[in-house]
Amino acid sequence: MERIKLYGKYERYWHWSQFGAIATLTITGFEIHSTYEFFGYERAVNIHNIAGWGYAVLLIFTYFWMFFSGMYKQFLPTRERFMEQLHYYTIGIMRNEPHPVHKTPDNKLNPIQRLTYFGLMWVLLPLQVLTGLMYLYIKVVKELFGIQSVEWIALSHTLMAFMVIAFLIVHLYMITTGKTLTTYLEGMITGKEKTEINSI
């Protein structure tokens, strides 16, 4: 067992501020959807708009970072060891079999994570930000695109919000699937993660 440096400062800053933003946006977003009352509608809207803008900035900044650091390569899906990873998540993990993909700073994500985070970072979250901004500036969007109503923008924004929650549930659970229950959590806080000596 050794502790290797896995997540740089920016990655951790990005991860935790993204978590904060998404949590804030989800809580306020569903208040705006009238699912419950918490902050009060007006405050929820104001927080949602500011957090949304803040998150948009973070996302754009992260894209810059990914692009210039080459980190985007880690988020490209691959078929290599995909089935092994699927087997691990469904069966291997139960039997305490070794992890089929070894984490290194240049290859932090296993094939299933690559697919998930590719969808998250390049489809779900940017689309959510885009529909959010269109929602916020509906007056301009109406004039630009000649659309009549915010309805489809709002409905897709809501649908994607449900997807984000589903991701969060699974994501929070997956934190516990490290060597110990808190291995991954510690890793994302300190940047260093206890990792097995590569068996391959």
């Binding site: 509608y41 900044f61 080459g70 809501t158 589903a166 549930i169």
Partner: protein, 561 residues
């Protein structure tokens, strides 16, 4: 060299490009990447930060203070008591008008062009074309129609003696200058006299012959009581019709009306209903149709009064009145229901009345059954400033019949959501022609067939239809009718303005407006259901996966023992 230095000091300072630094430091010598990188940090970060701060700022500003010149504060430059012509011995009110016109030349022509005088306007109604309509010929949802009931109804005409069709609309001395311009509060038109004040022959305890010399010496711009004597009491009593215009406005608290409150600005009607050449701005859509010559809040408050982007965006689709008039009839009750079908009952051969627990009539033999209420929550409709009306000759198609129709829908870019008083009721119609009817209601003496004296619908219908030169088959029934009155008065103090969730909630005030997506109200049940199922499945998935891991771990533990 210098560029690299700047770059590395920035990345070090920000501390966010560690991976980048190690990986590409060799490759970046003078290349494009480096410049973009620097650009990203030095230019974009401040821009985005500024954007976020700007966003935040837009939600926290204070509303604009309005400075407006009050038209009603104008002081007459002349002391009218000094004019000998106004101190003559006036035999008739018409003689007063003649005296006014000797100085105020051409004003009679201005007056005679107005709807206040003509009781009709020629306006374009979408789907109908140009029509000439007004109080003169429309049927309303209250006493139903003025024509034929002149003695009573034409008391509110700004003329003298519009008793019947022979009234001369071209005679300037028929204009009643005093009813609008009297500042003494002593000049009144007598009831039942078609707009005439009391004469020596008709004077009684309630109505005396006006002191014309005093009244004519004290004239000025109309005040609330001048306008209110008709606009507060229309329909036979205080606040019967509008709901937001009533005698309490003569002296009310800020809670009732922030503009007219005597505790505050004490604004007069003409401060908003600005007037040039006797053309008074403002439309009441019970009788008006066209989106012209209207009063608007924007006259003083502009289209972006809140200094808050989120609120100001609302003004595109929401009338100011919608949020700022949360309830109406805040001092005295207004009539919400008028059912003519129960009218005509008598006790011991006499008409009678009953009152509700608050003292408002809920039954009158001469008028039928009523429902009154105060502090009423408006109903909300799209409205673009144009309206249609039931015009004599129209057949009843849809029930309840709309006495007037407010045009507008979400897709109409000129329409906004308005608060509306809807006055519902039942009134007579001809079952053969399917048309609403004119009734003869008022007569000074019993036995002439008027409903209010004789309580007989059929005779009243025959006389009313005859006077209006309309056909009556002889068979009648009652039909549900609705009248729509957009609200603009009794604006509340800002603390009482609607809060977001009054509309942005599942069962809010706009629950009946379903032609657009309203955040917090509108939702797609399938989408929400699907979303909830996905969440439940995710939870079940991770729980069962977790249980699986736990069970296998236990088993391994037992085996290793």
């Amino acid at each position: 060299m210098r560029r690299i230095l700047i770059f590395s000091s920035i990345t070090k300072g920000v501390g966010i490009f560690e991976p980048f630094k190690t990986q590409t430091i060799d490759a970046m010598k003078g290349n494009l990447k480096e410049r973009l990188e620097t650009l990203a940090v030095v230019v974009l970060l401040p821009i985005f930060t500024a954007v976020v701060i700007f966003q935040f700022k837009q939600t926290t500003s204070k509303p604009v203070k309005v400075t407006a010149v009050m038209q009603a504060e104008y002081q007459s430059a002349a002391d009218h008591s000094q004019y000998p012509i106004l101190q003559q011995n006036f035999e008739t009110p018409q003689a007063v008008t003649a005296a006014c016109l000797t100085c105020h030349t051409k004003r009679d022509e201005e007056i005679m062009a107005t709807a206040h005088w003509r009781w009709e306007r020629t306006e374009e109604i979408p789907g109908r074309g140009e029509v000439t309509i007004g109080k003169k010929n429309l049927i309303n949802n209250f006493c139903t129609g003025a024509q034929g009931n002149n003695g009573s109804c034409m008391r509110c005409h700004i003329g003298y003696g519009w008793e019947d069709k022979s009234f001369d609309f071209e005679n300037p001395t028929n204009i009643d200058c005093l009813v609008c311009h009297d500042q003494t509060g002593t000049y009144f038109k007598q009831n039942g006299k078609a707009g005439m004040p009391a004469t020596a022959a008709t004077a009684n305890a309630q109505f005396q012959v006006p002191d014309y010399n005093n009244v004519a010496s004290n004239v000025g711009l109309p005040k609330r009581n001048n306008c209110g004597v008709c606009h507060f009491y229309g329909g036979g009593g205080n606040n019967v019709k509008h709901g937001d215009l009533e005698e309490a406005l003569l002296d009310c608290s800020r809670d009732v009306d922030v503009h007219m409150s005597s505790e505050g600005l004490n604004m007069q009607c003409v401060d908003c209903h600005t007037t040039e050449n006797h053309n008074i701005k403002g439309k009441a859509y019970s009788v008006s149709s066209a989106n012209t010559n209207r009063v608007s809040c924007e006259q003083c408050h502009t289209t972006t009064p809140h200094q808050n982007r989120m609120y100001d965006h609302h003004t595109e689709k929401i009338a100011c009145q919608t949020c700022h008039i949360p309830t109406y009839a805040k001092a005295n009750a207004t009539k919400l229901w008028w059912d003519w079908s129960t009218a005509g009952k008598s006790k011991d051969g006499k008409a009678y009345h009953e009152s509700d627990y608050e003292g408002n009539h809920n039954y009158l033999s001469i008028k039928g059954s009523f429902v009154w209420d105060d502090h009423v929550q408006p109903e909300y409709y799209w409205f673009n400033g144009t309206a249609d009306h039931y015009i004599n000759g129209d057949t009843i198609a849809e029930i309840p019949l709309k006495i007037n129709t407010l045009f507008g829908e979400y897709r109409d870019s000129t329409a906004k959501i308005w608060p509306v008083k809807v006055h519902r009721g039942k009134q007579m119609y001809d079952t053969e022609t399917k048309e609403l009817m004119n009734l003869k209601l008022f007569a000074e003496d019993p036995g002439t067939g008027a409903f209010w004296t004789d309580l007989d619908f059929d005779t009243a219908a025959i006389l009313g239809m005859e006077y209006n030169e309309r056909y009556y088959s002889g068979s009648y029934d009652f039909v549900r009718t609705d009248a729509y009155w957009p609200l603009s008065h009794q604006v509340a103090p800002k603390e009482q303005t609607l809060t977001c969730t009054e509309c942005h909630s599942r069962d809010g005030r706009l629950a009946n407006l379903n032609d657009f997506y309203l955040p917090g109200k509108t939702y797609n049940a399938y989408l929400d259901g699907f979303g909830i199922i996905v969440i439940i499945l995710s939870v079940l998935g991770v729980i069962s996966h977790g249980i699986g891991r736990y069970v296998y771990a236990l088993r391994r533990k037992n085996q290793s023992k």
